[in-house]
Symmetry: C2
Subunit: 116 residues, 2 copies
Amino acid sequence: MLRQCSYDVKVKVVIHPQAEDLKLARVLHALSDPVRLQLVRMLATEGDLPCSALCLGRPKSSMSHHFKTMIDAGLLRVEIAGNTHVNNLRFDDLESRFPGLIPAVLKAAESTDRTR
Amino acid sequence: MLRQCSYDVKVKVVIHPQAEDLKLARVLHALSDPVRLQLVRMLATEGDLPCSALCLGRPKSSMSHHFKTMIDAGLLRVEIAGNTHVNNLRFDDLESRFPGLIPAVLKAAESTDRTR
DNA sequence: TTTCTAGTTCGAGTTTAATCGAACTACTTG
DNA sequence: CAAGTAGTTCGATTAAACTCGAACTAGAAA
């Protein structure tokens, strides 16, 4: 028996994995790209930021790909505020699941920009 | 002016990057695979191991690829002892370059095997 | 010297990822 | 409502990675 919805509902759903479902390999992969490392650094130091503040000269579609990768891995949470998407680093979730990992990565990334 | 070598020299050279040349993104990428994470765990807990002790059921050629990835990233050092290649985790180099990173990864990996 | 063992290299097939223009959606503002 | 703004999605292209059999190399052992 199928239930049908009589109105045309359009919900923009961004799926964030739960803290306990974060997978280490996925998180490390999301961190293993210079562009994404830079995003993590910016979000860690400057707090929540809209996409526009994070697209440093690159095409929007490229950045959208990186955001998706990070969201799927559980690195970012996105809150939609009207027109803009506010990104924030899921620091507490990451820290509870993988203690010390993000601080170590941030420290390592800060010690040099020759990340690649 | 070219110098020529009159004998046929064959040297097996394994190039290990120097500690100060390790690149964070490369290291994270080398860590971002479940098979390689497992290798890191085994080497961390059991010390130096030959390839044969690390190829858990997988084809040698596949494992060779993973070893190469890890060596190139600076995760492993290989010492050739006669017939066998002894692998060891470059813990001290990694720790001096990226303090806390490997311990955090090991702790995270140990907390669950659902790494992927 | 033949054989065994340990591991690499090669090559092919497949998968996954990165890049980016163009079209699209949805909110906001005039 | 029209126009602008913020960001996603699509589709194509290219580049990297992963996997693995087969052939190869070199040391060890018989």
